[in-house]
Symmetry: C2
Subunit: 406 residues, 2 copies
């Protein structure tokens, strides 16, 4: 049973108190047993029975935060699309690039051409780097298969990763990422394949926790999303949606009406959408890296927070529009591009991110009974950590009470 | 005499051919002797006498670029201002913060209260981290002294750093960073102190290569800048200017009329200013981190490039408006926020950055006779490097032919 004492600042990030209440204590202590937190709070109040625990002395004066949660990634994919990045910067539109064989469909081909072993190795490498940044839980979407076999294959890869490396994986079926070209004239057959084949298998075998859809012009329309959501709900999957990213399609309101766990992107969300999310308690997941890479204005996070919507922050890691898994960079962008405060951003990458993936009872804050997932940051406080963007602010990452790399 | 062979991509970044011509070769070789490059080009053309050199085999297939040059930093300062970052995000204006004792003047106090040893240690730590990112030359400004003693002290610290660690330092006197409050009613006395005392001492003792000024409402006006520029030119210092950052003050045109080496920031540059820079050959230094942190629209780099202005990219590292020395992040922002291509950005952080500090004959490109400063990047090409923002893309940094940390 170890204990960290004389922590410079401990940000527990408990749920209550609104987005900016991170419940931080200076000169704090954190005690845990195996994978479970026993006690977190001011060192002066550390109960006597924990004062005799084995003391970890390496991190006195540092900042300790809950393990970061990246609640929106497209983790497993083959290939990259750096050439499209260059082409877009040179003025070529996404539509032109997609028409000439680029975009999501290109990654679907590259993923099919990559072996399971190589895909797993790529994911493991990314997860290991994410963990070095303090990330302890990662939501991971499919969506580069678009066939029953291709989508289930990606879910099985996530299951294999969950069992073979320390970062926790929350798997999401995103079969409705794009409509395969062969179904373009008979879209309902693809929707049916999702609802009758993919969702039942993913849910029945316990391979997915969530079902996600991409509601947007050129992706899926509202009526299609409703069919998929109804099937997913019937089979017990949680709901997520890529919504209102490039245009206001009423996605936020739809998510709210279905009681979705999260609505993600929302760069173009309407006032009505904001009110709907506030009423439903659906988490709004901000993805500022995607806005940056696409050269767009990000989700109006301040307006959502003022309306009482819980706002999470994630990377959207994918090979097209957000080719970075650097969650602390996404957090800096949430501060600078969206004027979220450091406290709001930290809560957005911990407890609100946990809520976005339905894990808020287990992770996302440092409280007795929760999993001992935390990151030790070389900074005096949260503002300093996010403000001074440097190479190595994360000194150690603990998952389930175990120090990584130790 | 070592040689790198079978380099995946070698971007030599020679001057000719415009901003997007990085003169890259695949399967390339680079040979050097002591601190000087002997040969750079396709491996198949490597002359026989270099084929027998001691071969460094660790980096086959990687990207090799000229050592990055950060041509605009405020390297030496005491304290930080993370609390002001938080206050600005919470809606407090820079002016309000400055009035209550924050801003540049707060850093001046903190710098005065920090010992030489501590300032040097802080700078050395930052330089060591910058070098890990591939940076081999850093321009470093004063401007947190604002007295003869305080400004000369910072220049002496830069001289000490130049002699005691490997990253090359190009020192710039920025006494005209802010007018000290005690001179506010007699500004001409401070200008005189700069022109009669600081510039002659800095130039006479060889402590500074450049003189920089901050032309902006609340900083210095055009007539004051002219007096300072004339004195600096008389004493043989190169000229730089912080111009057109928060408003169009005609700074670019003034820089051009004096033949300044660089005009920096330029977020609000006018069309006339762009034409003037194009005619004078003055380098425009883009500082997108400052624009990001301030929540402002950055320099219209595309328009400058189209007009033929050489555009460099730097960090502006300082404790207020750009608290990061992460030049690859600034380069990513130049792509995403300013729609510069990866090639334009790489040239902006190498050969055009070298021109901005008058070092283009010695560094900034990989050509025979130049200093063997280069970075080995784990990426197949330049686009991929900048597109996939990750933790450790720089595998090795060579300065003067020596591998750092070897």
């Amino acid at each position: 049973m170890p204990v960290l004492r004389h922590i410079g600042m401990l940000a527990t990030c408990r749920f209550e108190g609104g987005q900016s209440a991170i419940h931080a204590a200076r000169n704090a202590a954190l005690a845990w047993e195996e994978d479970e937190i026993l006690w977190a709070g001011p060192d002066t109040e550390l109960p006597a029975q924990y004062q005799e625990l084995r003391q970890v002395r390496d991190f006195e004066g540092c900042l300790v935060v809950p393990g970061l949660i990246d609640c929106h990634t497209h983790l497993a994919f083959g290939g990259w699309r750096a050439d499209e990045f260059e082409q877009r910067l040179s003025g070529r539109s996404y539509q032109e690039i997609a028409k000439s064989g680029g975009g999501i469909l290109r990654t679907i081909t590259a993923t099919a051409e990559t072996s399971d072993i190589d895909l797993i190795a790529r994911c493991r490498a990314a997860l290991a780097e994410m963990a070095k940044l303090g990330v302890t839980t990662v939501e991971a979407k499919t969506g580069y298969g678009l066939t029953v076999e291709g989508e289930i294959r990606l879910l099985e890869i996530y299951k294999s990763l969950e069992e073979s490396q320390p970062v926790a994986i929350v798997p999401t079926l995103l079969a409705a990422h794009a409509c395969p070209p062969e179904f373009e004239r008979n879209r309902i057959f693809y929707i049916e394949s999702i609802c009758r084949d993919m969702i039942p298998e993913a849910a029945g075998r316990g391979l997915a926790s969530f079902c996600d859809v991409f509601l947007e012009q050129g992706a899926f329309i509202k009526d299609e999303v409703k069919l998929i959501f109804e099937a997913a709900r019937w089979h017990g999957l949680g709901l997520k949606i890529h919504a209102d990213q490039l245009s206001d399609t009423g996605g936020a309101s739809l998510a709210a009406s279905f009681g979705a766990a999260s609505a993600d992107h929302l760069d173009c969300i309407s006032e009505g959408g904001i009110r709907a999310l506030a009423a439903s308690g659906t988490v709004a997941v901000s993805l500022p890296l995607a806005s940056l890479y696409l050269g767009r204005t990000p989700m109006p996070a301040r307006r959502l927070i003022q309306a009482g919507v819980p706002v999470a922050v994630a990377t959207d890691f994918n090979p097209g529009t957000a080719p970075s898994f650097h969650l602390p960079l996404a957090m800096l962008l949430a501060c600078t591009m969206q004027r979220m405060t450091p406290a709001e951003v930290l809560k957005g990458a911990t407890i609100y991110a946990a809520k976005a993936i339905g894990e808020e009872d287990d992770v996302g804050s440092l409280e007795p009974g929760k999993r001992a997932d935390f990151a030790v940051i070389e900074a005096p406080d949260v503002s300093h950590w996010l403000y001074h963007f440097a190479l190595h602010r994360c000194l150690a990452t603990y998952i389930g009470g175990e120090k990584l790399g130790a």
